[in-house]
């Protein structure tokens, strides 16, 4: 199979992008596809703001002494980086952009169940974002993205209240998105589309939505109580009154650990779509991969205590949380093995999305395995609060979630925009991202193992080589992220027409025109086959 060529089909005359014009038609749209693009613009903005903070962190760490920023400023830099990347980029990234665009299309629906709620979700996100930008412009916040009490509730002299309000508000955006997906997937599937014919992207988003709906309210109340404690002296976590700061950590991690699965589960959904398409094969063990998504969502709620091994929680609780954390590795490993087995004897096309998918599998596996080190009580105490942790979760969140996000954006770009992106540039950017990522974060595993603690702006001279490597890698990574921004925007105007199905992919979203009409499908499709019903082509290349 060759790489996709320009399509012979003409572009549809009327589609969701030109159905109406003007700023009002976008700001008041109820079309899930347009709302997805609103989210795409907003989260891209926050991705680069958060990236700017990362750049400043890496610049400071290029030299051992804390010479570029004071330690107080440095605290604000890494906190803003964390808050923006976690709450304003990673959590909404795949669900709010690709999920919003694709969930209705993949199940053959005209829209999500509650389109107005969907638009509201974007406005709520934007209001939360405005609060956060206000924090950035008024000096930032320095508690770390985890807002641990009593530092956040009592002692910090930064914009804690404003940040907490911003994150609290944004949480409701996530709740509404999750709720919308759950109802849509339950009630609006096309005729014949049974649960076990659903694409795994849908299973992934269903599992993610469950976490969003069950977890987010808990962090909302925890942050609300911190805000009330700061502003109104409601002292629920105040040790002076007998309140327990550890209670805050429990409530915080009850959401914020599952939040990791909010980031990674949709990414896994993207990978299942991309791997099957470019290996041109059915997914190996579909039922297991689907069940594993739900299992991860459920087990993910039972492991939060592994963030608190050294916080003073009971040793026995620590042992149970350690054991349960090991269990999460089982469904995750099932997925990795099944993707790999899907590649076996596949007719593989090394397209840009596939390169990202390969990157994902390798980096996610490394992030996951180092997660097992961290779930082990003894090792955890050795590497706790070191760069080992930083490297581990960046392998999951950047190596995993962001790689899949970029892969997904490329994979569905022809559907979203109706245009092909330049394949050569795409592959080059994927390669640059992979190299830059590993150069940035692999040295941090070693740094952490050698004992370099996180959240300090200075470090001993012996760590300088590895830190310079990391900063160099971050620069390369930055280039890798800027490239797609440029050529994807370029392709909107100058790209070749994609046609409805440039990848010869299965899935309902590829059966309609690119870009789709506002109603998605001229008539509601009827599904008669399983997902990924790819038929291997006879050997010999056309």
């Amino acid at each position: 199979m060759a790489a996709p060529g320009p399509s012979q089909e003409p572009e549809p005359r009327e589609h969701y992008l030109n159905a109406s014009y003007g700023i009002r038609s976008w700001l008041l749209t109820k079309d899930h596809k347009r709302i997805a693009l609103l989210f795409l613009a907003s989260i891209t903005f926050f991705f680069f703001i958060g990236g700017l903070f990362a750049l400043m962190i890496r610049l400071e760490l290029m030299t051992p002494p804390g010479d570029l920023f004071t330690s107080a400023t440095y605290n604000r830099l890494f906190t803003m980086h964390g808050v923006i990347m976690v709450f304003f980029f990673l959590i909404p990234s795949i669900p709010a952009v690709l999920g919003n665009f694709l969930v209705p299309m993949m199940i053959g629906a005209r829209d999500l169940a509650f389109p107005r709620l969907n638009l509201l979700s974007w406005y709520i996100y934007s209001i939360g974002g405005l609060f956060t930008m206000a924090v950035v412009l008024t000096g930032g916040v320095d508690t770390g993205w985890t807002f641990y009490t009593p530092y956040s509730s009592t002692y910090s002299n930064s914009q804690v209240a404003l940040t907490v309000v911003g994150v609290f508000i944004t949480g409701f955006s996530s709740i509404l998105t999750g709720l919308n997906f759950i109802i849509t997937i339950h009630k609006m599937r096309a005729p014949g589309l049974t649960w076990f014919r659903l694409p795994l992207f849908i299973w992934a988003h269903y599992s993610t939505s469950i976490i969003m709906v069950l977890g987010t309210p808990v962090v909302a109340i925890a942050l609300l109580l911190v805000g009330l404690e700061r502003l109104l002296h409601i002292g629920i976590f105040d040790p002076r009154l007998g309140g327990d700061p550890i209670l805050f950590q429990h409530l915080f991690w009850f959401y914020s650990h599952p939040a990791v699965y909010i980031m990674i589960l949709p990414a896994m959904g993207v990978i299942s779509e991309v791997i099957t398409c470019f290996a041109h094969k059915r997914l190996f063990g579909y039922n297991f991969v689907a069940a594993a998504a739900v299992a991860i969502a459920v087990l993910g709620f039972l492991v939060w205590g592994h963030h608190m091994f050294v916080s003073g929680q009971s040793m026995y609780a620590g042992m149970i949380f350690s054991f349960l954390s090991f269990l999460v590795a089982v469904p995750s490993a099932i997925k990795v093995f099944n993707w790999t087995a899907t590649l076996y004897k596949g007719q593989i096309v090394y397209s840009t999305p596939m390169l990202y998918a390969f990157g994902f599998i390798g980096l996610f596996t490394m992030g996951g395995l180092t997660g097992l080190f961290l779930a082990t009580l003894g090792v955890n105490i050795h590497v706790h609060d070191t760069y080992f942790i930083i490297a581990h979760f960046h392998y999951i969140m950047v190596g995993g979630a962001v790689m899949a996000y970029l892969g997904g954006i490329h994979f569905w770009w022809p559907k979203i925009s109706g245009k092909l992106y330049p394949e050569g540039w795409g592959r080059l950017a994927a390669l640059i991202v992979f190299i830059g990522f590993n150069l940035t974060f692999f040295p941090q595993f070693i740094l952490g193992y050698l004992g370099m603690p996180r959240r300090y702006h200075a470090y001993p001279d012996e760590f300088v080589v590895l830190n310079v490597m990391s900063t160099a890698g971050a620069t390369i990574l930055g280039v890798g992220y800027l490239l797609p921004l440029v050529y994807l925007i370029w392709s909107m105007r100058y790209g070749k027409s994609a046609g409805s199905n440039p990848w010869n992919a299965k899935g309902l979203e590829w059966q309609t025109t690119s870009p789709p009409s506002t109603e998605n499908f001229p008539i509601t499709p009827v599904v008669t086959e399983e997902a990924y019903n790819y038929v291997p082509e006879p050997i010999g290349h056309g």
Binding site: A109, I175, I234, I236
Partner: protein, 217 residues
């Protein structure tokens, strides 16, 4: 006439009213699950601290006005009844009684908030509010302040939900007066009823947890 009402009530993304109704119900139930988790977080905190400081929580509870809490409980249970009757009226397409029961529910909800207002005002008068000026100086003073923190956080959050509920009822009332609902199309009333009952149930838990700890004399 019924047909044109159906056509205007059906949103474009649904195939029929049945699907739309089911989606609405499931949506509200899912939302209520998020609400349970929201209140669940603070109930967890309450449970932990009450187990740690039982005497302080009893002292705090004894200082609340047992009778005002009881009256408010009765008011809310009654409002749940009128809400259920409003839902019933909407299902039968009885416009006048729907309007009447919605108004009655709003009146009872407002009465609850008025009583709550007087309770809060009294607490402010006697300095029974958390913070550096907390007036109570008896035994277990810091932990009693913790109890009072829970009192304000829990009842405050509940009252906020009541205010939202009253807003929803006001919208329903306007729509009912315009004849928006019929025996075919009434799911907004049903769904809002679910929300109202949920807020009542939260109070059913708050009442004993805050007002009835230990024996009252």
């Amino acid at each position: 006439m019924a047909e044109s009402a159906t056509a205007t009530a059906l949103a474009h993304q649904f195939d029929d009213l049945e699907q739309q109704r089911e989606a609405g119900y499931l949506g509200m139930w899912t939302f209520l699950v998020t609400e349970i988790l929201f209140f669940g977080g603070i109930f967890t905190g309450y449970t932990a601290y009450r187990a740690l400081y039982p005497e302080a929580f009893a002292i705090g509870s004894h200082h609340l006005d047992y009778w005002l809490g009881t009256i408010n409980t009765a008011v809310l249970i009654l409002s749940s009844l009128t809400m259920a009757l409003a839902v019933h009226a909407s299902q039968l397409g009885r416009r006048r009684s729907l309007i009447g029961f919605l108004a009655a529910t709003m009146t009872l909800g407002t009465a609850f908030l008025v009583v709550k207002w007087f309770e809060y005002a009294h607490k402010f008068e006697i300095g029974w509010i958390p913070g550096p000026d907390f007036a109570y100086r008896g035994p277990h003073a810091p932990q009693v302040e913790l109890f009072v923190s829970f009192y304000f956080a829990l009842t405050g959050m509940h009252a906020l939900h009541m205010v939202v509920g009253l807003g929803i009822l006001a919208v329903l009332l306007v729509q009912a007066r315009r004849g928006r609902f019929s025996s075919e199309y009434h799911s907004p009333v049903v769904v809002s009823g679910l929300y109202w009952h949920f807020v009542d149930i939260v109070w059913i838990f708050l009442y004993p947890l805050l007002y009835l700890i230990g024996a009252h004399h």
